[in-house]
């Protein structure tokens, strides 16, 4: 374990034990790192968005540190993941607001026979399973089952009902491909992760 992870874990324990300064100490230790992480991951000049996303991720954890399970990940990794997810959600929201992308799910492609009824809009089976699942349990399940980082991020996005192709494109790092190809790759990944989600949530019930 790195020195940073050790420090963060120690402060996490102090936070759980009720030390009122642990929140500020954790913020001092991790907030700058979360911003740097987002800056590297997303590039460009979005300092305000980075600060918003890093703050949201950090505050959510600090307000309820029991959400984090030290046996499953390092705290810095956990928060980087949460900040990245918040950043992607924020980007998606901005994209929706500016109406630069389609409002309908652009990921769903028509079937070769032209019958795309089942692929239009939300997947009703998965949606039903997601709606009936406990949100906290679902988050932990995704964290546990999806060991591949990209799949896990895609699963989180599906659970959060993020539907914009551009967000998935960024997760997959395929922004350089032609748009049609991006859609097709994103759809393939989403379908696979959705199928797995259905299976694991179904088994859990």
């Amino acid at each position: 374990m790195s020195e940073l992870s050790d420090k963060a874990l120690d402060l996490h324990k102090r936070l759980i034990a009720g030390d009122p300064t642990a929140t500020a100490r954790l913020a001092q230790l991790l907030f700058p790192r979360l911003i740097s992480h987002l800056r590297i991951k997303f590039g460009g000049e979005h300092e305000r968005d980075y600060a918003e996303s890093a703050s949201d991720a950090l505050m959510e954890y600090l307000a309820d540190p029991t959400k984090f399970d030290p046996n499953k990940a390092h705290l810095d990794t956990y928060l980087k993941y949460a900040a990245t997810r918040d950043m992607m959600n924020l980007k998606a929201k901005v994209a929706r607001r500016s109406e630069r992308i389609e409002l309908v799910d652009p990921v769903e492609l028509p079937e070769p026979d032209g019958n795309n009824k089942e692929h239009r809009g939300k997947d009703p089976v998965l949606q039903g399973l997601l709606d009936s699942a406990d949100e906290e349990e679902l988050t932990q399940l995704v964290q546990r089952v999806f060991t591949d980082g990209i799949d896990r991020e895609i699963a989180r996005l599906i659970v959060d009902d993020v539907r914009e192709t551009v967000v998935y494109t960024e997760v997959l790092g395929i922004g350089n491909l032609p748009v049609d190809e991006q859609r097709s790759v994103v759809k393939r990944h989403k379908d696979r992760v959705k199928a797995r989600l259905k299976r694991i949530i179904g088994l859990k019930k």
């Binding site: 009122p20 300064t21 500020a24 907030f31 700058p32 600060a51 600090l62």
Partner: protein
């Protein structure tokens, strides 16, 4: 806070803390609003160096129970460099105001106000205890 984080980024984090009742930032913000002050005035009132305003805001509000209140005040004071007695007064005053406000809107039972009132009465004794203790680590 590390230099790599810009003041604007830090301001966003501190602002979020000021909107969450678990954090001392919300106490500072409420007191400032109630008294028509700027938050920096409140920070100076409790004799905290302005450069530590962010870390003070990001500390959690001291626990209410008598067993922990003084301990928490002391930890925050040692860490942020503020005056323990002034901080304790400020937190109590805000709690009493909060309780009165909640009572007037019918949100809480009467004993919350009684607790706040009782805290006020014991203030001198508690502050003496807080002042007598030494600091440990500075930020």
């Amino acid at each position: 806070m590390k230099q790599r984080t810009s003041d604007d980024s830090l301001r966003i984090l501190v602002h979020k803390a000021s909107q969450n009742k678990q954090f001392l930032g919300s106490v500072l913000a409420n007191y400032a609003e109630e008294n028509g002050l700027d938050i920096s005035d409140v920070v100076l009132k409790i004799m905290c160096p302005l450069k530590n305003m962010a870390i003070l805001s990001l500390c959690k509000v001291p626990r209410e129970s008598a067993d922990f209140f003084n301990l928490d005040i002391r930890s925050i004071s040692d860490y942020s460099g503020c005056d323990a007695g002034e901080l304790a007064n400020l937190v109590r005053e805000c709690r009493a105001l909060d309780a009165m406000r909640s009572l007037s809107t019918g949100d809480v039972p009467n004993d919350s106000v009684l607790m706040a009132a009782r805290d006020k009465k014991d203030k001198k004794k508690d502050l003496k205890e807080v002042d007598e203790t030494d600091g440990e680590d500075e930020p």
